[in-house]
Amino acid sequence: MIRRILIANRGEIALRILRACRELDIVPIAVYSDADRAAPHVLEADEAYRLGPAPATESYLRGDLILEIARRTGANAIHPGYGFLSENADFARACDSAGVKFIGPPATAMRILGSKTRARQAADRAGMPRTPGSVQGLASLDEARSVANSIGYPVMLKAAAGGGGKGMRAVSRPEDLPSAFDAARSEAERAFGSGEVYLEKLIERPRHIEIQILADEHGHCVSLGERECSVQRRHQKVIEESPSAVVDDELRRRMGEAAVRLALTAGYTNAGTVEFLVDNDRNFYFLEVNTRLQVEHPVTELVTGLDLVHLQIRIAGGEPLPFVQSDVTLRGHAIECRVYAEDPDAGFMPSPGRITRLLQPGGPGIREDCGICEGWVVPMDYDPMLSKLIAFAPTRDLAIARLRRALDEYVIGGIRSNLGLFRRILRDPDFCAARIDTGYLDRLLRQAAPDLAADTSDLVPAVAAAVLEAMQSAASAPTASPASAWKAAAHYEATGADPRP
């Protein structure tokens, strides 16, 4: 029986898991780095323990410290969230040895599916379509050449231990293969500590579509429909939705069955995602498995009516799945935006810093999984995700309209965010018509942005600035500088800053 869960993560996902714990009458225990002492997940937890300095290597990646805290505080399970230790098979095994339940698949299944080459072998055993190419690391350039020649160009070199686009090279001509092979190997070596690369046929303008699966520890596994994640920048997902506009019941059933077969073959349990590329003719090809909860799990929750984190915890507690495949139905349409602290107008430069003002959207059909609050200083030490804004509506068109409405309500002041990028995408005719593939966003960003800036002949900004100035001048002493309207407003943030003794 799981009674106390240590949440080995931060930000919105730590809060997401914390809320699930409360709803299941489980005590949520937070951990934090020095950069996160004042973070929302610490404020809302029942207990919270310091890990170490800000860098992840000294805090959220310190599995030894985390297990030590779990033991000291009597936590009998650890939820790793995503990122950090979530796909670390050694950590999963260490939890197991320490008698603390790791909420995720067993280390054995993580090892099989965590390597892309081993996962491709498992896909073959499960009889699942995959891209043509190698299923083992390439021993030499000669081997690479021979595989590429046999499947035909263009091809893609990929790191077996890869993720996030690192160690990947598209090669369209044989003469480019040698340099690409060297580059991919050394990049993979640097990023993952393993230079193992393999080679596969490059699918042109593919869609990224993935299947959510859920397997209990009694041999039952179900698929929960698909998510379309084709809106990506630099191989990072930006918008996700469910269902996909190109997946019909028949394709969903076939992809779901393939994903379930793969999971059962690998002895997988708990939540996982099987990723596919889908080509123009709606053929699907196995891509890789994410052996953890995904960032974008809320869109699946909204269309299935299920709570994946509840189910993860119940599965980890030994319960059988409380439903079977035929009970799973999709209703409506959900779309998620990943809200980042970055400036799309300045090359997507990161924008950490204090959130001086926060106006959050709400109302019907809007869910926000949020890791920030007014006054919070977004640290420079972790990824830039601030929150996930998710809209649910009866149809895709209405979900888009709802998301636009919510984005228009949303203001994040003090730092820059990519809210404006979402406003642009959600008004783009190609996105609205679901004409998307993994190259869609890069193409959009190469076009000039439609000029949404204020008309400078408009009086409103001048009137607003003047009113703020006049209010300040009326409210303050006669010595006040006229150029300081912002100061009065900023006072609150200033006084809100940690007043150290």
Partner: protein
Amino acid sequence: MRLQIEIDGQSRQVQIDPADAPGLWIVRVDGNLVEADARLLRPGVLSLLIGGCSHRVVLDGDSSDPALYIGQNRIPYRVEDPRSLRSRRRHTGADGPAVLKASMPGRVVRVLVERGQEVAAHQGIVVIEAMKMQNELKSPRDGRVAELRAIPGATVSSGETLAVIE
């Protein structure tokens, strides 16, 4: 009250006076006269009604770089203060020494030049990392590295001087 307000780079002459009722102002912008009904709902959040149109105004930025969100548009502005030259400072330095400033807060991961070294415009000077993203900051002009303040491993805040190129 007379003000000179620069909106997104364009200068406007503004005269603002309280009207006869609380919250109401008479505002003249470059000769156009409007009545504005304005309430500060909480610090930095203003409800502005002009001729029935409702505008949500949110203050953003800081004293050196103030901006307004009007609806969803972020509009940089500047109230020019006749008593100081502050507002003109940003225009100086086209020919003088060029200062390379941190464009974001972060950690210095690499310094690519040495003090005294000759550099070309757009040559990389310093690499800063924040939020798992690295950013190479480039020289704004041809010249010589006269000062080099960036130290590998150090944390820098946005706008902090990293190097001076002469």
